[in-house]
Point group: C2
Chain length 457, copies 2
């Protein structure tokens, strides 16, 4: 790749400034008050894509937030790469834990600090800049289509329908995604598996109003006590999820493949120290990597009810709420799991309360075979830039839309992530090392090069 390192070195200040402009728009898809910011971020991306050299770029409406679509055709016979990313970000609460404001990006200690620095504004932007390099230096070997959505963090509810309506537009050979991580700055890795997700809000109602906990306590069901008991029942002593039928479709991973996955470097003591826990915990019979990589999980993402202020208020509250989620593995179907959960959760509710289960979010898991041409191209690209062969890993995270792409468009995805675990995505103080940002821009052009070469054969 002619002049690649020079190009990056000479333009990196500008790359960062352009990324910062995008980050400053608080495009939080979970909150309806940011509706206008979503459109603003989409238009900002369209501008960046046009400047980078696409033939055309459009902000295309959906029932929710728009999709930014752009394309450049170099040769109808060349392979077509569809770059997928998302411009929406997670909410930034709790704000007080941020060392610098989440939407005022700054560089400290060699890292970009901001919500979206990594997930996924930073990583999406690497693709725009890698593409810019290939266009400006006239080395682009593939046709490229960009598809950058604004609802990934809320489960991409409108991208599936949008793909359905735009099947012709979205013809291509591979979907290229940077929305995952690598093991360490010096250990490149490619994500070959993603977990699915099924996410609900549950509401437990006891009495029709808050009661005095002395006058009623002991005789009237307390919805917080009940909710805790119901949640506690969702997992047994061995860490297994107790929803009947939950494991029916779980793809069991062979001993051989488990051995292979176990080769990825992992240091339990460092893992525990990094998040300051004395012990890991999870499903009996599996390692930590297996618990997040090949096994489903059950997590309460939020809970609230009753008095949460200063001091002691003796109240027996009327309602308690929780946001409850399961991560799923291939071949679990998130819609089937949603039905099983609702049925089970309602069935274990005592008659003294009313329970409402509202599905909020869902997506299927995904597996990428390591003999896929695009996987091979990605592997060569990392090897070229990092000087070592990347490790295939199964991630515990979910990108629900990846399996939808396969279903609707019949196209596989390759997940070239450049984030690190310490990037704290979804947490306060999200960050993205400038090193990784630039390494991403350096690696992606090689993917195009090797993918074009492999597809020619």
């Amino acid at each position: 790749m002619k002049d690649l390192k020079n190009y990056i070195e000479e333009n990196k200040e500008r790359f960062l400034n352009e990324l910062f402009e995008l980050i400053r728009i608080p495009s939080i898809s979970a909150k309806s008050e940011h509706k206008e910011d979503m459109v603003k971020a989409a238009n900002q991306l369209k501008k960046s894509l046009l400047e980078a050299g696409v033939d055309k770029a459009e902000v295309m409406p959906t029932k929710g937030n728009p999709v930014v679509y752009a394309e450049k055709t170099i040769d109808p016979n060349a392979p077509t790469v569809i770059v997928y990313g998302h411009y929406d970000v997670m909410p930034a609460e709790p704000f007080e834990l941020w060392k610098s404001p989440p939407f005022e990006p700054e560089i400290r200690d060699g890292k970009i600090w901001a919500r979206g620095a990594d997930d996924d504004k930073g990583q999406s932007f690497m693709h725009i800049k890698a593409f810019e390099y290939l266009v400006k230096t006239k080395q682009l070997p593939c046709n490229v289509k960009f598809m950058i959505e604004g609802e990934e963090e809320v489960g991409s509810p409108n991208l599936g329908p949008w793909c359905e309506e735009n099947k012709e537009l979205l013809k291509g050979d591979i979907i290229l995604v940077s929305d995952t991580g690598m093991i360490a700055p010096d250990i490149p890795s490619i994500t070959t598996g993603l977990r699915g997700l099924s996410y609900w809000q549950v509401e437990v109602t006891g009495p029709n109003r808050d009661l005095h906990s002395g006058l009623f306590g002991g005789a009237v069901a307390n919805p917080i006590n009940v909710l805790c008991k119901m949640i506690a029942q969702m997992q047994d002593e061995k860490g297994k999820i107790t929803i009947p039928g939950f494991y029916d479709d779980v793809m069991e991973v062979s001993a051989e493949e488990r051995e292979l996955l176990g080769r990825a470097p992992f240091n339990l003591e460092e893992y525990k120290a990094a998040i300051d826990i004395a012990e890991v915990c999870g499903e009996e019979g599996y390692t930590t990597s297996e618990r997040t990589g090949i096994r489903p999980s059950f997590d309460v993402c939020g809970i609230w009810g009753g008095y949460q202020g200063e001091g002691a208020k003796t109240v027996l509250p009327s309602k308690a709420f929780a946001k409850v989620s399961t991560r799923l593995v291939p071949n679990q179907d998130n819609e089937k799991i949603a039905i099983l959960f609702k049925k089970h959760f309602e069935s274990i509710a005592p008659k003294s309360v009313k329970v409402v289960v509202t599905p909020l979010h869902g997506g299927q898991g995904y597996v990428c075979p390591i003999d896929l041409p695009a996987y091979k191209a990605a592997e060569k690209a990392y090897t070229q830039v990092f000087g070592k062969r990347p490790v295939p890993v199964r991630s515990g995270g979910s990108i629900p839309i990846i399996s939808t792409f396969e279903e609707i468009l019949g196209i596989k995805s390759v997940l070239m992530g450049f984030g690190l675990e310490s990037d704290a995505i979804h947490s306060p103080n999200e960050n993205f090392p400038v090193f990784n940002f630039l390494k991403g821009i350096e690696t992606i052009p090689y993917f195009y090069k090797y993918f074009a070469e492999i597809m020619k054969k």
Copy 2:
């Protein structure tokens, strides 16, 4: 009692206006930002007491909120009644459920609507107005001392020490309290038992920061999942509290006394309909009245952790919190229970989390014998005004200071409450029927009359 009904009829508008002035001061003891309102409310009460005819009134400092003390001596040989009440109120959250602002009292449907309308500004004020009547009409048969504190809703932490320091000042024959309820407007009752209270905040910490629930879920303990499991373990299938030693000191009530208490009118269907629940629930082997009257209970008054906003945030939070309380019965000791709880709660925590238990509040239970002279006087007073003999009841609520009075001052208390269950104390839309407010003012003078007569014998 000469002219009593006329006096009330002629002055009731003024009584209400004076009470409203007190209610408008948001004297919320649980919140430190209301520190100045506490002093303001105390001074307002001092003014009311002086106008009602006490010899002297003082706002006496404590380490916390001041105590309003006032007295009138008619004869050193006459019996002395100490009136106890409190001018602090509960927090008013959730505000959005109030039909009129909590600190802007108004009368609708014959009721005063406001925080403190009943508990305990309204009920304390009845005593000041009953006293005013007795003084103005020159019929006061007892010496009277007023002791109105500002920390009842946070467990009266400084009233015990204040009593200790003012033992001489507080010599008396009985403590008279209106901080409880009656069964119905036409069924007068006297509270003969109160439950104790032990109240804690618990904090469960998992990882040192919020984590991505996909990348870590299933391998790292989720503090909400863990907290729910710990709370669920606090009660067994029969509704018994599982803290080892918890029931050791519980005063078991004889079958005979249970039969007597069971005579108090109670309609389960009306009870359930009033709070819109399909079923009551509680400790096996006890009736609803017994569950709140003679048995301890375990209630989570508040819980929070993780994401509580709109939509779905996939987070494995760092921390989860709960406000946890037990109501205690004679002879359980709240400090002993606090130690047992802390020890047990910490012992059931898995090693994957850290647990902190902070005591917030505590008080002992209380029993008033029905052969006490003051009980007899109260019984006669109600019979006089309501035309029927009052029912003795065991309340589920707590007034922790009542047992402290007995310990420190060696004086029993009589609980002449005029509130109703529908007054929604501690809840949004607290109210107090004007009927009950005026009936209280009418009944209290008879208590003084009969108490003086009984004590003379």
